[in-house]
Symmetry: C2
Subunit: 244 residues, 2 copies
């Protein structure tokens, strides 16, 4: 039997999704709970990794297991075994051939920037505080170059090159709310490592007036990582949704 | 000179406002930072204590100090010395006789309940999760008995009796939002220890149908702590504002 999980987690206390020796990982915690329920070692396959400190509201993963336990029992059992910074939001039985990574149609990430003179004590683990006023209009003008099929090599994390760096972005939009938050939502068929955080770091350079929206386009086209901005910090990033 | 601070803090990692031996307190952290800036021991007087795990968006406190440092320098200096779970939002020079506790006109607290079938991993430190559906209308009917001048002995924390337990409540209102949050706002000229959390715990009993709004009124009038509900957990409580 094949089960799909939709998972929320607070990334603060994890080394990331992927299992690590002697460090807490989301995958490790859930696999341990699954092992307790199934009395055998279970491997959990996510839609993709998230890095240390990155949060998820709708990460997806699947696991295969011959069991009499139902999806509903897994949902309740896992939530009672897991610590409270991981919540299983849904568990569904899937066709045998469903694969949480290979079958992804697209994913949506959100990045939260708090653009106010003072930081927030309460929200510091869930946003990137930027004191200086950002020009959201020019950031959106730059982001308008993202949708479509492009080689995103310029925004790939160094040290993690992939053979294939072309991805299709469907949407890349900023929203502002009255509390000083700037929310960036980006939807694509896939993401390279650090891609969202490198894009956000570079868009912030546009918002600060260090580079123009045209420069942003040129960086995207150049494929040159060294021209892009610094990687935005992890705590502003949320994996919102994975679509199949 | 006499300075007033408006302070935001995340209560998660503190034993509360009040200074404690060998434990982190908000007062202790700020007094240490003030001592570094003023090169002498400074005592900080808050509008009142908050308990372990309780948050503040607008706690107020004052300190007296003969110094050439300005309010603006205190604001910047304290924020650079303090860890990121305390943020000084404002620093203002006040008349010599201003006192952050004695001069309080009224205070506003907020209590956040997450009333959804599943808890939240991200928001677990900032709300009380209640799975069973609460009847917010009957909770508001009960809360409508609160405004006015009453003896709140029934809602005082045990082991901390005050001579004077009469307080005036100006407002006690529930609000619901589309994300499943029920927000309780209460404004009064003063609060007894655990008063908000004991009121919320008892109102939740109304919302769960365990007692009626009329029972709530009777508990308030009885002055009998043993009839009130359990103390609501600290992480849902925020000190929003102190008015002078």
């Amino acid at each position: 039997m094949n089960f799909k999980l939709i998972i929320e987690y607070d990334g603060r206390d994890f080394r990331g999704w992927q299992i690590q020796k002697n460090e807490r990982s989301v995958q490790g915690d859930i696999e341990n709970a699954l092992e307790m329920m199934c009395r055998q070692k279970i491997t959990l396959h996510a839609s993709g990794r998230t890095d240390a400190g990155v949060h998820a509201l709708g990460q997806c993963a699947h696991f295969r297991c011959e069991t009499r336990l139902t999806a509903d029992i897994f949902l309740k059992g896992l939530n009672s075994l897991l610590r409270d910074d991981i919540v299983i939001r849904e568990c569904t039985e899937m066709p045998e051939n469903f694969h949480a990574r290979f079958d992804v149609r697209n994913k949506i990430y959100q990045y939260r920037i708090l653009n106010t003179p003072l930081p927030s004590a309460i929200d510091r683990g869930y946003s990137w505080h930027i004191r200086k006023k950002l020009d959201i209009l020019s950031m959106q003008t730059a982001a308008d170059h993202l949708p479509g099929k492009h080689d995103f090599k310029a925004f790939e994390g160094s040290g993690s090159p992939r053979a294939h760096t072309v991805r299709s972005i469907h949407k890349a939009e900023f929203e502002k709310n009255e509390k000083g938050y700037i929310i960036f939502k980006i939807q694509a068929d896939g993401f390279l490592r650090y891609m969202v955080r490198n894009i956000v770091g570079t868009l912030v350079n546009v918002g600060l007036g260090r580079i123009t929206a045209a420069d942003f386009r040129q960086i995207l086209l150049s494929g040159d990582r060294s021209q892009a901005g610094a990687t935005a910090p992890p705590q502003g990033l949320f994996l919102l949704q994975v679509n199949y």
